[in-house]
């Protein structure tokens, strides 16, 4: 309930992502376990591990319908995976620490062309 209460006051202009850029993009809410999906959205948060921890980069991708975790195993850093970036990610939906996740997805940066060219 608290979330709804807080949300009610957020600025309505923050549309999370542009309308589907690719024809095969599905909304995150429709992603089901063990299916192969292509989703698009904004990276809401990125989780980095300190040196001693298991090298894993996790981030949360959200669109207007929901959110899903993207996990890059064995990596500390992926270029372009920063907070607020808009990306399209593709992969098989699995599970990571009890949450719905796509492990080692393929991804493509959206928006800013210069940044995208960097990869």
């Amino acid at each position: 309930m608290a979330v709804r209460l807080l949300r009610a006051h957020r600025a309505p202009t923050l549309k999370l992502v542009a309308p589907a850029v690719r024809s095969d993009v599905t909304s995150i809410a429709e992603a089901t376990w063990r299916s192969h999906v292509t989703v698009a959205g904004r990276i809401r948060s990125v989780r980095v591990q300190p040196r001693v921890g298991v090298p894993t980069l996790e981030c949360t991708l959200v669109d207007d319908t929901g959110g899903i975790t993207l996990v890059f195993l064995g990596r500390r850093k992926m270029s372009g995976i920063t907070c607020g970036r808009k990306i399209v990610a593709e992969g098989t939906v699995g599970e990571h620490h009890g949450r719905l996740a796509i492990l080692n997805p393929m991804y493509e940066l959206l928006g800013d062309e210069q940044d995208a060219a960097g990869q």
Binding site: A2, V3, H9, S45, R47, V48, P50, R51, T82, G84
Partner: protein, 655 residues
């Protein structure tokens, strides 16, 4: 068991002064201004002898004589002109009859409620809480008015003596109120003795004034004022009003109502019976009678002198009637002038002290009402010097506002005055009558008769005051008191429902199974020493999940922090970077927390590093993000905020 290394034997605990924490600057200022804090044991339990008690409790009552005659004349003179001087004495006598009954009635109250009397307690015990709120609010408003009236009248006494100060009446009045407030915040104990001097000085001055005046009156050499000073209130013509016509009856009643201000303060002794030496109630009764007699003599004497010398009040209040009487009685010789100055000084002092009586009574009454949960709870708190500091400040604020609104004019304040006091008289006397009917102590019939008559008489006077002064400002009180009572009742409902909720099954709630998961989030702005403190603290906790959270407002900084974090040699402490597209950091943190608690089985602790600055201006250089984050997060159930302090300019080990 090894005894190889002899251990030092345990020592006693260090003295309490050894771990004194540094005091804040505000506290140090307060300490300087109000004196050292008093220990709980120092609660004034000193008992007063009759002479001191008279000085402490009578100043409000006796001081009324300084303006009561004037207020009667102020009504009479414009209406019936010269005939006013014939009517002022009969009206005074009528008022004194009321006074006599009140004193008789309060003698009963003092005996029946020797510990904590007062209209509020008497009404509450006999009629219940709601009528008691009327008594309480009526008295509270009147205490505020007493302060305003006394201070305004005291200021008028100053400006009567030094006419150059007349334009500064409002600042002078506010200055008096502030002085009295500080004095009271320092504590009442000292003020007991402070009271004695001015009260007796005033009594001596009045005795001298009335003595000289009456002697000169009997010798027949008192001067008579002509009614042709500029600035006097306009004289009405008595002929056309016809002294005993209906219209004049109204004028007489109106004058009587204005004179009602004279008896205010009678209740002071009944509020403080416990402060008297044993046998408290007997001493209190004696003091009450002495006080009433003194007031009666002064009031009557001044009215007689005013009526003989045809002293009329001035339209703007200065010089006052009492100062005119002083000038005329003492003459203009050197001795006369000296005596006149003494009289003015005495009047000023007692009027200002009368305000002080309210400062003793208002906070106590407010604390009673707050104790019954009809006023904000803060009013029950004793402050630095064991007085009800919040009540004192509340009274001062209200009185200053009133003085500013009315421009420190006594005649604008008087119509508001006395309704409250007579309402509380009526309720407390009726309460006493009920008390006699319930308890039926020996001699209850006599008590019932006295208190019944007192109640009826007070009610009659109250109605007269409300009706005759209605258009002059009394309407404000007639409106304000019920509104305030309604407000208090609303407040009470709020307190009661809070109490019901908080106390509902508290034991079961404490024994409920705890939530399954505990997540600790450390807010990190950048990897600096204050964040390090928070991380250190977080590592002492043993949560199910621990992570640092950084709200991204600057991608550059986020990048640097990521670099630094991935070099950090800590396991199990991931850093989460959270996007904040609308730059509202507290809201963003709250959302992160809300996502954790959403499952319903998680308790979240948010650790917020907070910097502590040694100097006030240092903290002005920074915003108060930590506080606003805490406010936003605290709105979420099962979210708990912990501040982790970082102290600047402090020795390494205490940071």
């Amino acid at each position: 068991v090894s005894v190889a290394t002899p251990k030092a034997p345990p020592k006693p605990l260090p003295p309490e002064s050894a771990n004194d924490l540094p005091e804040t600057r505000a506290y140090r200022i307060k300490d300087r201004l109000l004196g050292r804090p008093l220990h709980n044991d120092q609660l004034p339990n000193e008992r007063l002898g009759k002479p001191t008690a008279l000085a402490v409790f009578a100043s409000d009552n006796l001081s009324s004589s300084a303006y009561a005659t004037e207020e009667i004349l102020r009504v009479l003179v414009p209406a019936i002109g010269i005939a006013a001087f014939a009517l002022v004495v009969p009206i005074t006598v009528a008022m004194l009859v009321v006074l006599a009954f009140l004193i008789l009635s309060y003698r009963q109250t003092i005996k029946a409620y020797p510990s904590a009397g007062g209209a509020y307690v008497v009404t509450r015990d006999n009629f219940g809480l709601l009528p008691a709120q009327f008594a309480g609010v009526a008295l509270l408003t009147d205490y505020v008015l007493t302060v305003a009236v006394s201070v305004a009248a005291g200021t008028a006494a100053v400006t009567s003596a030094i006419s150059g100060l007349a334009p500064y009446a409002v600042p002078i009045s506010i200055g008096f109120i502030v002085l009295i407030t500080i004095g009271n915040l320092r504590g009442v104990k000292e003020s007991g003795r402070v009271f004695a001097v001015p009260t007796y000085f005033f009594i001596a001055n009045m005795a001298l004034l009335l003595g000289v005046g009456i002697v000169r009156l009997l010798l027949g050499d008192l001067p008579v004022e002509s009614a042709h000073h500029p600035g006097l209130v306009p004289f009405g013509s008595g002929a056309e009003a016809g002294l005993f016509m209906g219209a004049s009856l109204y004028v007489v009643l109106h004058a009587f109502a204005s004179g009602g201000a004279a008896v205010t303060g009678v209740e002071a002794i009944s509020n403080g019976v416990s402060a008297f030496k044993v046998p408290a109630w007997r001493n209190a009764r004696t003091t009450l009678v002495i006080m009433g007699s003194l007031l009666g003599v002064m009031f009557l004497g001044l009215s007689v002198l005013a009526s003989h010398m045809h002293v009329a009040p001035f339209a703007d209040g200065t010089p006052t009637v009492i100062s005119q009487i002083g000038k005329l009685v003492y003459g203009s010789g050197a001795v006369g002038t000296l005596l006149f100055i003494c009289l003015q000084l005495g009047t000023t002092l007692i009027l200002v002290l009368a305000a002080n009586t309210s400062f003793a009574d208002f906070p106590r009454l407010a604390s009673f009402q707050a104790g019954d949960r009809f006023l904000p709870k803060q009013l029950t708190k004793r402050g630095h010097r064991l007085v009800f500091s919040n009540g004192i400040v509340a009274l001062a604020t209200a009185a200053i506002a009133l003085v500013i609104v009315t421009g420190a004019k006594v005649d604008r304040l008087i119509p508001l005055y006395a309704i409250g006091v007579f309402t509380s008289f009526t309720l407390s006397q009726a309460g006493m009558a009920r008390h006699h009917l319930r308890i039926k102590e020996p001699g209850w019939r006599r008590g019932l008769l006295i208190n019944g008559t007192g109640a009826v008489l007070s009610l009659a006077v109250d109605i007269v005051i409300a009706v005759t002064k209605f258009t002059h400002g009394a309407w404000a009180i007639v409106v304000i008191v019920p509104v305030l009572v309604a407000l208090l009742v609303r407040l009470n409902h709020q307190y009661e429902s809070e109490k019901t909720e908080l106390e509902h099954d508290a034991q079961a709630a404490a024994e409920e199974p705890i939530l399954r998961r505990h997540v600790v989030l450390v807010l990190v702005e950048s990897l600096d020493r204050s964040a390090a403190r928070a991380i250190q603290y977080a590592r002492t906790l043993l949560p199910d999940e621990l992570r640092a959270v950084h709200i991204v407002h600057d991608p550059q900084q986020a990048e640097e922090l990521t670099e630094e974090w991935s070099r950090l040699a800590l396991s199990r402490l991931p850093l989460e970077l959270v996007d904040c597209p609308d730059r509202r950091i507290p809201q963003c943190v709250a959302e992160v927390v809300a996502r954790e608690t959403a499952s319903g089985d998680t308790e979240v602790s948010v650790l917020v590093p907070r910097r502590h600055y040694q100097r006030l201006w240092h903290s002005l250089l920074h915003d108060r993000t930590a506080e606003s984050i805490s406010r936003a997060v605290s709105r979420i159930p099962h979210a708990n905020v912990t501040f982790v302090p970082y102290h600047f300019d402090a020795p390494e080990e205490v940071r």
